[in-house]
Assembly symmetry: C2
Homo-oligomer: 461 residues x 2
């Protein structure tokens, strides 16, 4: 790191700038199997202006800058392949405004989804996007996150109305606005959502809120095989039932959850449902889905009506990832996350299960199947070459299959470093060229989260 | 026009290339008050490859190219301020694929919304976005159109999944895909939607379809004043009632409609509603809204249950624009179209009505108030200077008010030529700079629909 930059940051941020090894290590790794890549130092910013001045300083010295929320991403987004400054935004945790009548909230980027929902308690409103981890809203916007509720409420793409963003030269830009729709110029908000910190650093964002449904009910139902469960999902979606959540977990996932969460769920292919609406509409939705599931061999429909039972159920679902990690002590997870048109979902999962049968490493399958999105938790010992080879093989098989089915290499995790090589396969070279042209137009020095989504100009994937 | 270009286009397109005066005039004006600006010639393209070769030829000769659908836009989008070639896409009218199980359709850009819905008859699916005019889907995507159903189904922003787009150099790019969600790279689809043909020409697009609701009912209700009607809308939206349509029309609009459509609707501030869902849910929604309206003085709730009655009702609503044009023979419409957060809607409309009371020209007010979006149909004799001055005054008043209320200068019409000057006011200079950087990165010669959204580089708004 240029000594002058180190001095300038020390002077401005005092003990909110650290070059200590443990801080750098904490900010140079993520939840996945990627090897750590450490930044040179970490700045803990607390305002948009502090982000802007840090970015401007880094621009002056040609030093990379990598935004950091809570580090829950899984495709290497927070790693520092070219060193530079990790910009920790967890101190940007102020809720700036809640507009109850308009159903929106403006927050600093470091506010987490649970923090926002806590602040909304008693208002009759909630923020639905729920990727499992208690991620920051800035991080969720940066990776275009979604999760269990997306089948009903959309993803971050649909739920960010406006941003305040720091550009690569330190200028502060406003995008979007609080009107529910607009045709006023290029959709810079949507361009930033999913750009993984490579075009600008979102410092504040305005997100949509929703009225808490009058009635909510959740249910669990087991199936004789994965295909019957998937067919139930497909028929439910095609019928237009407005389910709020519809999640598939395979037998291995259930067994891991039971061990981890001390639950006694049946260890079989299972769907978790949640229905939102008026009491009459929830009843109607539940009856329709129960009839579909029943026809396909679904059994043991168990209802969770009380809020505490629902919370327990969804906590178990959210623990699936960590529960699976316990299946193989000391292991790491090689993440996959694909999404296909719903008509191809059964075929895609069936073929994936055939691949899984061919390898030795444990692999759990679960996901947000209402969107056609599912994950594999592929458990590896990173030091074991065969594990890593098998994981790479299964990952490329499922990704290439999803793309061949007109799906995507990532439904919600993002490209980061891990999925870069699939971008031209999915979108074609021309679209990738256009992405690069936009990147270079907005960040000519390529300092904003370098190497994520696109390799540095001139380098191969 | 360069003679070599004329020769090349004549040779390739034969009688699908015209430089005739009437064809040029037809393609150089729109539905609004903007003075015509004629292109040098018109190409009638019938395939993506024909668009690509025309764009490549124009790029070679440095000649502007302006995409044209049915010419129903109202902010000067199809005008040719620097001459060039108008690219008529109405012959791009092939429905390429309907995926019933996935609820999406891929169409050429010249397919109109009614054509798509005709093709869907009997499938149980429909395409909801309805801006009134039977616009092409390409044109609707280019202006980020919405209309009466947007409060329930979103705008074109939310409903375009993928595009095939011709870039400024003639290369063909694919964006997006058929998966319902993706985190794979920059959201080029959303960048193109609303870019008004200035970043690329959409040749094909894939749009979302929806199951036709089991039950639909529509209703009309009159109010003692506009404020009571607007308060009914606000309470309905804040309660989270999933209305499919909720439209306000003022007394002048109703009187124009009665004359034009031979209807006998009460000439008072009126809301048109439509409810979609299961029979029970539609009943529930209607009861809730009726109770809200009743409390606010809403009366004469009239129901249209039969499809033909509903069609008549919505046809009358869609005719409002043309009905209003008849109020002043020989007049043209000076369009306005703003959208504000719903909490500011009553105040915005009340202040606008005070402005309307101060001018002599007839002005009707109606719109998609469930989104906070409303239009003024400002009727002017373009030759009458006082008319034009009054219209400009009222338009700037309502736009500046909407922006001051954290709203937008255009909810659904787009920027075109007419709203360019408001773009920096709404988004700030930094965001406009970024829009220009993207424009120059993708269209360095500034040949794609020049002067729309942004003035040519170096020129003032």
């Amino acid at each position: 790191m240029p000594e002058a930059l180190r001095l300038a940051l020390s002077q401005q941020f005092q003990n909110r700038f650290s070059c200590g090894d443990s801080t750098r290590l904490q900010h140079g790794r993520d939840e996945s199997v990627h090897d750590p890549m450490l930044p040179w130092g970490v700045v803990f910013a607390e305002s948009t202006e502090e982000i802007a001045s840090t970015v401007a300083l880094c621009a002056e010295y040609g030093v990379p800058i990598i935004p950091y929320g809570v580090g829950s991403s899984v495709e290497g987004h927070v790693l520092a392949p070219r060193g530079g400054i990790s910009l920790d935004l967890s101190g940007m945790n102020r809720i700036i405004a809640i507009h109850h009548e308009d159903g929106d909230a403006t927050v600093q980027a470091g506010v987490t989804r649970k923090q926002l929902n806590d602040a909304l308690k008693g208002s009759g409103l909630f923020f639905p996007i729920d990727p499992g981890a208690d991620a920051t809203l800035g991080g969720m916007a940066a990776t275009r996150a979604s999760g269990t509720n997306a089948v009903r409420y959309g993803t971050m793409r649909d739920n960010v109305l406006a941003t305040t963003t720091v550009l690569a030269d330190g200028r502060i830009m406003k995008t979007g606005g609080r009107a529910r729709k607009s045709s006023a110029g290029y959709d810079l908000t949507r361009l930033l959502v999913g750009s993984e910190g490579t075009l600008g650093i979102m410092a504040e964002l305005t997100v949509k809120l929703y009225p808490i449904p009058e009635a909510i009910s959740a249910a669990v139902c087991t199936f004789p095989d994965v295909d019957a469960a998937v067919q139930t999902v497909i028929q439910t979606i095609q019928l237009g039932v407005p389910v709020a959540r519809i999640e598939l977990l395979d037998t291995l996932s259930l067994s891991a959850i039971n061990k981890f969460s001390k639950t006694t769920l049946a260890e079989a292919p299972t769907l978790f449902f949640e229905f939102h609406g008026s009491p009459a509409s929830v009843k109607e939705q539940a009856e329709t889905v129960q009839a579909i599931a029943g026809d396909l061999g679904g059994a043991n429909f168990e209802w969770a009506i009380r809020p505490e039972d629902r919370t327990r159920l969804w906590q178990a679902r959210h623990d699936a990832y960590f529960a699976c990690l316990q299946l193989k002590p000391g292991c790491r997870c090689f993440p996959t996350d694909v999404c296909v048109p719903i008509s191809r979902l059964a075929e895609c999962i069936a073929a994936t299960n055939e691949d899984i049968a061919q390898v030795n490493i444990p692999i759990a399958l679960f996901g947000h199947v209402g969107d056609g999105n599912f994950h594999l938790v592929v458990l590896v010992d990173p030091a074991n070459e065969q594990d890593m080879q098998e994981a790479a093989w299964i990952s490329s098989r499922v990704v290439e299959r999803a793309i061949a089915m007109e799906g995507t290499c990532t439904g919600e995790h993002g490209i980061g470093l891990g999925k870069r090589k699939y971008l031209p396969l999915e979108h074609g070279e021309v679209a990738v060229d256009v992405m690069r042209a936009i990147k270079l137009a907005l960040d000519p020095q390529q300092l904003l989260n370098p190497g994520k989504i696109l390799p540095p100009a001139g380098e191969k994937n």
